[in-house]
């Protein structure tokens, strides 16, 4: 089974985000980056499917040079090779533009299964995977908690809302967006890190791919959200703050 995993590099969780001078995006200069968390689970699922059924896992990433680090980590965890679409203009593309690039870079790979995380921690639009499936003309399912592969088809467990689930069967090739927490993430082994250095990374220049249409949606302004509630911040040492909070809980909230 040949599995492609589309991964994205995002600022590390708990980054101190600052809005850039243009007010259109964040200042990226001092940020550290890591794999988008749901994509890490997609990679894990791909590696487990390969262990069960054999085949190949190919990591796919679009982004600037710094993306190489995230690709190396995916290779160290066990991906067999990678495709890096090199581009510095991600912020100027919309989902359709990015999905077009991903589709063009993998159309000759003839993968059986394409996995990606259900959404990104930065934009959170949650649609690159679904749009990629549309562009490739293959069926898809989203927010997947479990994958069972058979020959020529898969059965997946979709998460619905409020604790409901559903099994869905579909023919291969197909695309799935994977939910965080589907399984335990593995760490790269020393051997894996060593091997990663010798694995193939196919570099594709965005300029060599078909030109994507101009973005239909644009970000006009990025800003800190306004508070919905007036928060009473309680200060002091931990002991003092705790005592003050208990006073509030007793006399204002009346739960003690």
């Amino acid at each position: 089974m040949k599995i492609i995993v589309a991964i994205k590099q995002v600022p590390v969780r708990d980054s101190n985000l600052r809005i850039d001078a243009s007010g259109h995006w964040i200042d990226e200069d001092d940020l550290s980056y890591e794999i988008n968390e749901p994509d890490a689970y997609a990679l894990e699922e791909a590696l487990q499917l390969k262990e069960k059924h054999g085949g190949e896992v190919v990591a796919l990433l679009a982004g600037p040079e710094r993306g190489s680090q995230t690709i190396r980590e995916a290779l160290a965890k066990g991906a067999d090779r990678a495709i890096h679409i090199e581009c510095d203009d991600l912020a100027s593309l919309d989902t359709l533009g990015i999905a077009n690039r991903l589709a063009a870079a993998i159309k000759d790979e003839k993968a059986d299964l394409i996995l990606t995380g259900l959404q990104s921690d930065d934009l959170g639009l949650g649609q690159t995977g679904v749009v990629l499936a549309e562009l490739l003309g293959i069926p898809h399912a989203t927010i997947i908690m479990q994958v069972e592969a058979a020959s020529g088809s898969i059965k997946v467990k979709r998460e619905l809302e409020d604790g409901w689930f559903q099994h869905v069967e579909m023919p291969l090739p197909a695309l799935l967006t994977i939910q965080s927490g589907i399984s335990k993430l593995r760490y790269a082994t020393l051997m894996g890190i060593k091997k990663a250095k010798t694995k193939e990374v196919r570099r594709v220049s965005a300029g060599d791919l078909p030109q994507a249409a101009a973005a239909t949606v644009t970000i006009e302004r990025v800003y800190l959200p306004e508070k919905k509630k007036e928060t009473q911040l309680i200060d002091g040492s931990p002991k003092e703050a705790a005592a003050k909070l208990v006073e509030k809980l007793k006399f204002e909230v009346r739960v003690i």
Binding site: L96, E134, W164, V168, P225, K228, A241, A242, L245, I256
Partner: protein, 327 residues
């Protein structure tokens, strides 16, 4: 192209509440732009649902009906709605941002060379056009989006962002629309939805909830929070990552994929407040947040906040609660 089309969602013979919030968003666009509003439901045998639809203020209702639409499939919904959108040529298509919409709407939009402006928390008219507001970085930032060019413009709205109570009543005719579908174009076979083991904890009725998130770092640190919950006489709950790790059972998860709660007191410990969590608890009467990051989105919904190290504050709070209760 003109008009607004709202696509409503239903399950088990009843409308999803978020459908009415999407319709409220549709009414807002309609009144701001002076365009007609229509709404559609998709399925098979929708007679029973059309009465309620006809009682809303809209210009037209559509029942998109076909035997192959009895159970939800992305292929079926995309094909059926593609035909309805082509027929009506609306300027805006508005949907509730549910898991089902997330499954099919991006694909539907792509058929029209469009992307879905997903999970909107607000919108406003600005000149000849609209500004659409959505969150970035798990709610840490907001962004104003514009969709200046081609149409239709596909939008989905976040749970709770528009008020179903503000929906205007009226009377509308509901007509049937029969899309052309054939079985071979629907590639996935869905089984009936199911629930895992019966829930034994009903967080929905708990008056006090002490909820813990990633900030707790390790499973071994949980007893500290359990002790606080016990002192307060509350139930313990958690954000998704804690349950994903198996540190607490899934049934104690609060958020869009877990339980929705509205206790008298919701104490959020080490929870940053990603939107998936906030939708499950923002109806709480009083929210207290303890977090080391003063910019964490949880403080946007908190009535009281302590910025600091939970490992210092939680034990101190447990002591103070015990003292106040005279235990």
């Amino acid at each position: 192209m003109s008009g607004i089309l709202v696509v409503l969602e239903h399950r088990g013979g009843a409308y999803n509440r978020m459908s009415w919030e999407a319709l409220a968003a549709g009414q807002q666009i309609a009144s701001a732009s002076g365009q007609p509003l229509s709404a559609a439901i998709v399925g098979n045998d929708l007679e029973a649902l059309s009465g309620e639809l006809a009682s809303k203020k809209l210009d037209k209702g559509y029942r998109v009906e076909h035997a192959l639409l009895k159970d939800y499939t992305a292929d079926g919904y995309v094909l059926a709605l593609e035909q309805l959108v082509k027929k009506l040529e609306p300027e805006f298509v508005v949907l509730p941002h549910t898991y089902q919409v997330r499954d099919f709407a991006p694909r539907l939009a792509a058929r029209f060379g469009q992307v879905l402006l997903a999970d909107l928390i607000g919108l406003r008219k600005d000149g000849d056009n609209f500004v659409f507001v959505r969150q970035l970085f798990q709610g840490k930032l907001n962004a104003d989006y514009r969709h200046p060019g081609s149409r239709p413009c596909f939008l989905s709205v976040q749970a709770g962002a528009f008020r179903a109570e503000s929906l205007e009543a009226g009377s509308a005719s509901v007509e049937s629309f029969a899309p052309q579908l054939d079985a071979s174009s629907i590639r996935s076979k869905p089984d009936a939805p199911f629930r895992e083991a019966a829930q034994t904890v009903d967080l929905g009725s708990a008056p006090i909830i002490v909820s813990v998130g990633r900030g707790i770092k390790e499973q071994d640190n949980l007893p500290m929070v359990e002790e606080l919950a016990q002192a307060l006489g509350g139930e313990i709950a958690a954000s998704r990552p804690i349950c994903d790790n198996g540190w607490l059972p899934m049934e104690r998860q609060v958020g869009s994929s877990g339980q929705t709660v509205s206790p008298k007191l919701y104490l959020a410990i080490g929870i940053s407040g990603a939107i998936q969590h906030l939708v499950g608890m923002k109806g709480s009467k009083t929210v207290v947040a303890i977090n080391k990051d003063e910019n964490a989105p949880i403080f946007e919904v908190a009535d009281y906040g302590i910025v600091g190290d939970l490992f210092d504050i939680v034990p101190a709070l447990t002591e103070a609660v015990k003292k106040a209760k005279g235990a």
